[in-house]
């Protein structure tokens, strides 16, 4: 392990990416127990689309196309993810990639897709649809009336809160941990045209460790981040986030999940980078899932922000982050994955991982003593 080596390059927007992803399409998760996952994600607020012995498909209220696939598997693990592509030319270019497999009849529907693997070996689908905009069929109610100083919307009319699962509109983003940070982050920029919105670096070495990537939709606004790549001990999915209508829905979702006996992870608060109002929960396997609303929307003109990485950089306000929110323990499984990565010749920066772990332990608020 070399100390004091110069920091790596930061991931950058590609001049000529192979394609420009419109949005994240879906996440495919392997689960040993489909039953517990099924009841969990219904309480979480997803809608059931299809259920077999082998697979459960969920969708959000914003589209009838599945965004969440739970597939029978020997281990609880991320199987893959998909992005929407709407340019025929871009789709053809992706088809031409080495190792790319073309599936004309689609994975979950009629949309043809190309399957490729990212540098960590994760399966990534580019789902082709010329009618991407029409996929979205938002039955968003927003029939809520909010009183505010100088703006009285409700008179003689209390604010009723209905009990039930939050209404999930759509899958918003996925956070992926990678042993090889730069290689993977740059691959997503080069292959799918992602633009870095914010990059977090370690305070000592100035090594980049987290990048928030948004889609390049030109002058059309898009989420501050659609995927996040972070430096990790192993390659895995850290969490997925689902968009809700507003803060009221976020709180309602939390109330319902807690009432049903599920475990909260952290919330409610407002993020700093991306500004979302967030609430984190844990699914039956312990994986983090997030409800959010009111996230930032950027077009392609907003330049990158660079920031230190620490716990404080994760939120502007909110409940104190529980000590166990970030999984900083070195389990047997993670150690095994780490050794596997090292022996397979991956460029793993151990000094970076150790520094990251140390940084993330620093108390975010001066009044919190872990």
């Amino acid at each position: 392990m070399k100390k004091n080596r110069p920091p790596s390059r930061c991931p950058v927007q590609a001049d000529n990416p192979l394609s420009k992803a419109k949005d994240i399409a879906y996440i495919r998760l392997g689960r040993r127990n489909l039953k517990s996952s099924s009841s969990y994600y219904l309480d979480f607020g997803l809608s059931l689309l299809e259920k077999t012995e082998e697979r459960i498909l969920f969708h959000g209220h914003g589209s009838n196309f599945p965004c969440w696939s739970i597939e029978k598997n020997k281990r609880d693990v991320l199987l893959g993810l998909g992005f929407y592509i709407s340019s025929k030319e871009e789709f053809e270019r992706l088809k031409g990639l080495e190792g790319a497999k073309f599936f004309p009849s689609g994975r979950f529907g009629d949309f043809p897709f190309v399957n490729i693997t990212d540098p960590s070996g994760l399966s990534v689908d580019a789902v082709f649809t010329e009618v991407f905009e029409e996929l979205k069929s938002p039955e968003i109610s927003l029939q809520k009336f909010w009183n505010a100083p100088g703006k009285t919307e409700r008179v003689n009319f209390p604010h009723p809160s209905q009990s039930g699962p939050a209404k999930v509109i759509r899958l918003g983003h996925a956070v992926l941990l990678k042993q090889e940070f730069l290689k993977n982050a740059q691959w997503y920029c080069d292959t799918f045209g992602f633009i870095p919105s914010d990059i977090q670096i370690l305070s000592g070495s100035k090594e980049p460790v987290i990048v928030f990537l948004r889609c390049d939709l030109g002058d059309k606004p898009t989420d501050h981040h659609t995927i996040v790549i972070a430096s990790g001990i192993d390659d895995r999915l850290e969490h997925c986030a689902f968009e809700l209508e507003d803060l009221d829905e976020v709180a309602k979702g939390r109330e319902w999940l807690l009432g049903r006996g599920w475990k909260s992870a952290w919330g409610i608060g407002r993020h700093l980078l991306g500004s979302q109002i967030f609430d984190y929960q844990r699914d039956p396997t312990g994986m983090l899932v997030e409800h959010y609303s009111d996230g930032d929307k950027f077009d392609d003109t907003v330049p990158v922000g660079y920031h230190w990485i620490n716990r404080k950089s994760l939120y502007q306000w909110g409940e104190d982050m529980p000590e166990n929110f970030l999984d900083l323990t070195l389990s047997f499984h993670k150690l095994k994955e780490l050794l596997k990565g090292i022996f397979s010749g991956k460029e793993i920066r151990m000094d970076t991982l150790l520094a990251l772990k140390k940084t993330m332990k620093i108390s975010p608020r001066n009044w919190i003593k872990y």
Binding site: R9, V12, I201, P208, Y306, H307, W308
Partner: protein
């Protein structure tokens, strides 16, 4: 919240524009210098129905114009002091020096490496623009600093270390043409903006690698302290600027304490020969073709001084 303006050239005409969400709204103010612009904007001009541009369509100029006085602070971040071979706990004085206003240049363009220079260095800095004359000793504090400082901008205090140190020529070593790219944004401060200053993050990358990153909260001498001291020995006019120092991470590294002690015993000429030889081994100095990218903004982007994009070219 600070309002952002740019100075630009389009179709051989110079003008100022308000910058909002990546779009430039020309003010039709004409070729005003920085001082005139500060007065112009104080009168709260109504934006006319001029064509709106994307910032990329314009040739962006330095929002700081010559003639003006450029006062700089040295070693004003703790870690940078250590790297420069100074003891931060001995730091009992505020180090001031000046740059020539001939060094002012566009924030999106070239940094020219003079023929005789090998040790070309970068220094990202927060710049303050004075908006009021200072000609006597003042008491400056958080309550009245906004009377004197009207705007913020980003500066790169480019330095030729092989002129600055061995020749004891700070003025020359820091003043060659193109040694002060400034802007792109002139952020006119509003009530309460001074409290946001501490969370401003400065970042400088060379060839996409982060070399410098820190927040204004790490300043050793605050703007208020520094301006108060300046007022003891210096007259200042609206449009003059103060560069507040650079964080750690420059190419320059002082030799260790032990080597410095030995060097002190050597003849002056030999000492600096060894210094240059030592620094030339460092790969961090700017080379022709290098790209410098820098930004100053808060994480929540309430204050955003834009992005500088520079390329190093060799003087022909």
């Amino acid at each position: 919240m600070a309002k952002n303006y740019i100075r630009f050239e389009k179709d051989h005409k110079i003008d100022w524009a308000k910058l909002e969400f990546g779009k430039a709204f020309p003010l039709g103010a004409g070729d005003l210098n920085t001082r005139e612009f500060l007065e112009f904007i104080k009168a709260k001009p109504v934006i006319q129905n001029n064509p709106i541009y994307q910032a990329q369509e314009l040739q962006i100029l330095s929002p700081i114009t010559a003639p003006c006085q450029i006062i700089c602070q040295g070693a004003n971040y703790r870690q940078h002091l250590i790297e420069s071979g100074l003891d931060p706990d001995d730091k009992t004085y505020n180090l001031f020096f000046t740059k020539s206003d001939a060094s002012l240049s566009s924030p999106i363009g070239d940094v020219i490496r003079p023929k005789q220079v090998q040790l070309l260095d970068y220094e990202i800095e927060l710049g303050l623009v004075f908006g009021k004359t200072i000609n006597n000793s003042l008491e400056i504090h958080s309550g009245n600093i906004s009377e004197y400082v009207s705007a913020l901008f980003m500066a790169n205090d480019i330095s030729a270390r092989d002129i600055q140190l061995p020749q004891l020529q700070w003025y020359k070593g820091k003043s060659y043409r193109s040694f002060l790219p400034a802007g792109p944004v002139l952020a006119i401060l509003e009530e309460g903006d001074f409290s946001l200053l501490e969370s401003l993050e400065l970042t400088l990358l060379v060839n996409d690698r982060v070399r410098q990153h820190d927040t204004i909260s790490s300043l050793v001498f605050s703007p208020a302290e520094s301006i108060q001291e300046l007022s003891r020995f210096c007259n200042i006019n609206p449009g003059d600027v103060l560069l507040t120092g650079t964080p750690s991470g420059c190419a320059l590294r002082a030799p260790g304490k032990f080597l410095q002690k030995i060097a002190a015993l050597l003849p002056e000429k030999k000492k600096w020969e060894l210094f240059i030889k030592g620094q030339l081994k460092r790969s961090d100095y700017l080379q022709p073709g290098d790209k410098i990218h820098s930004s100053i903004r808060t994480a929540d982007r309430r204050i955003d001084l834009g992005d500088q994009v520079l390329q190093v070219v060799q003087e022909s």
